[in-house]
Symmetry: C2
Subunit: 275 residues, 2 copies
């Protein structure tokens, strides 16, 4: 990162210094991006430890404090998990801590939620009993409809995979998921493969297809169940359903999943915390 004893200059050795590009980022942000590149390239895989702070400081010729600040941001973005005395690990959807991060639907009874939620971020972790069983209705490959192509940043007509599945809670159909994935990333994906997998879908994607979902944006609407979906969810036609439309992204903000979840919210609700 720097070559000689540096007199505290904040921008020594900046990438692209002096060029027309965007304003230059501080050192710790450059380090952060280098680390992200390491994660993206698979240099360090989910569940594994990244090098220690001192080692990274030596590698990049930077103080430990600077590396620390870089890692702090990665931890805040849930790309990495710190464990005192052990090291810093690449986040994985296989771990219990993180696997409920993208699952906001909860059973109503949960005494937690609105009631307590004394600790800002911690309350969400208590969501345990959420054992919904998945049943795949179909999994087929087709050409992307234009609106799916747009969401996934594909050319219209490119190959995509469509998974339709039901999530059941206590034997009751609760969520109908329609999941669109880019065909190129998910070659061998099949209904059997999904059904055989025990655990979160994102863990399957991460382990078997090397695609880690990093963040997502959701739009929620209340809609009336059409005939087909009402039937599938075993509710009356016209019943109110919560539609959760999600676009998930991996490193470099590349969209890799479009998901529409149609949720029966008689016994469940979507939980969110604002701050």
């Amino acid at each position: 990162m720097n070559d000689a004893p540096r007199p505290g200059r904040a921008d020594a050795g900046r990438t692209g210094a002096g060029e027309a590009g965007p304003t230059f980022a501080p050192l710790y942000r450059q380090i952060r991006e280098l680390l992200v590149r390491g994660l993206q390239s698979g240099e360090w895989k989910p569940g594994e430890a990244i090098p220690s702070e001192v080692e990274l400081a030596a590698r990049y010729r930077v103080s430990q404090g600077t590396v620390r600040k870089a890692i702090d941001e990665l931890a805040a973005a849930n790309l990495v998990v710190r464990r005192q005395g052990r090291g810093t690990f690449v986040a994985s959807h296989r771990e219990v801590r993180t696997q409920f991060r993208f699952l906001r639907l909860r059973p109503d009874d949960t005494a937690a939620d609105v009631a307590d939620a004394a600790q800002p971020g911690v309350a969400s972790e208590s969501g345990q009993g959420m054992v919904m069983t998945s049943r795949v209705l179909e999994c087929r490959r087709l050409r992307a409809p234009s609106e799916v192509a747009r969401a996934l940043a594909l050319r219209s007509g490119e190959a995509v995979v469509l998974i339709r599945r039901i999530l059941e809670a206590d034997g009751r159909p609760t969520v109908l998921d329609e999941i669109w994935l880019p065909g190129s990333r998910f070659r061998g994906l099949s209904a059997e493969r999904v059904d055989a997998w025990h655990g979160p879908l994102y863990a399957l994607f991460e382990t078997e297809f090397g695609t880690r979902m990093i963040r997502a944006a959701e739009r929620l609407k209340a809609i009336a169940a059409d005939r087909a979906r009402a039937r599938t969810l075993q509710v009356a036609e016209g019943s109110p359903l919560l539609l959760v439309e999600r676009v998930s992204r991996t490193y470099a903000d590349q969209p890799v999943e479009l998901r529409r979840g149609y949720c029966v919210t008689d016994r469940h609700h979507y939980y969110n915390e604002l701050s």
Copy 2:
């Protein structure tokens, strides 16, 4: 915070050291709590600057770095806003930056949202045109129903204020809000007062009643419009509505608002980002 030259001891001068209480927090966390107390007590009011980092460091006999880390956490929790070269300011619902923080309903057309959202937190700030006009239907005082009392941590039967209002977008009724507030905190609140106020409701609460909403938890459901609400919202009875139930809290996690918003989501959606 400490008395003499301290040899790097991490827990010198801890509050309650040696007692049975919870495990002791690091220095910067104690400082953070002191600052929160200052905010809570009104020592520094919304919009005002808090003392500079060096001044606080001197006051608490701590290094600037420790104060900095404390303030970092307050900034992360949106209690405070840093402005380089100017100072650190108490967050206020009167400011444009923060006033859309608790408003997740957006018009569908928004080209942003799911489509781009290139920067995690930044995308949300673009929500500008959200100019919905408020019309108060009623504002009355009554005894808290048990379930409202529970949410607001009041004794059942204590005085509460109920505000019912309509939010209109482009002249169309879009949200029906039922807002419950503890009577004790909101003495002079009336329909006229709310109607006369231009700007976010939370800005009114903050400025006129000294109650700042810090964070909130929401539960969302899709429900069918009953006769009364359908009429108010000018939709067909049985139409799907997005019910957003929110409990807002102020300092010390005290609940001070229970709000139920019934949203027509034909032209709008609830937006959320996961990470």
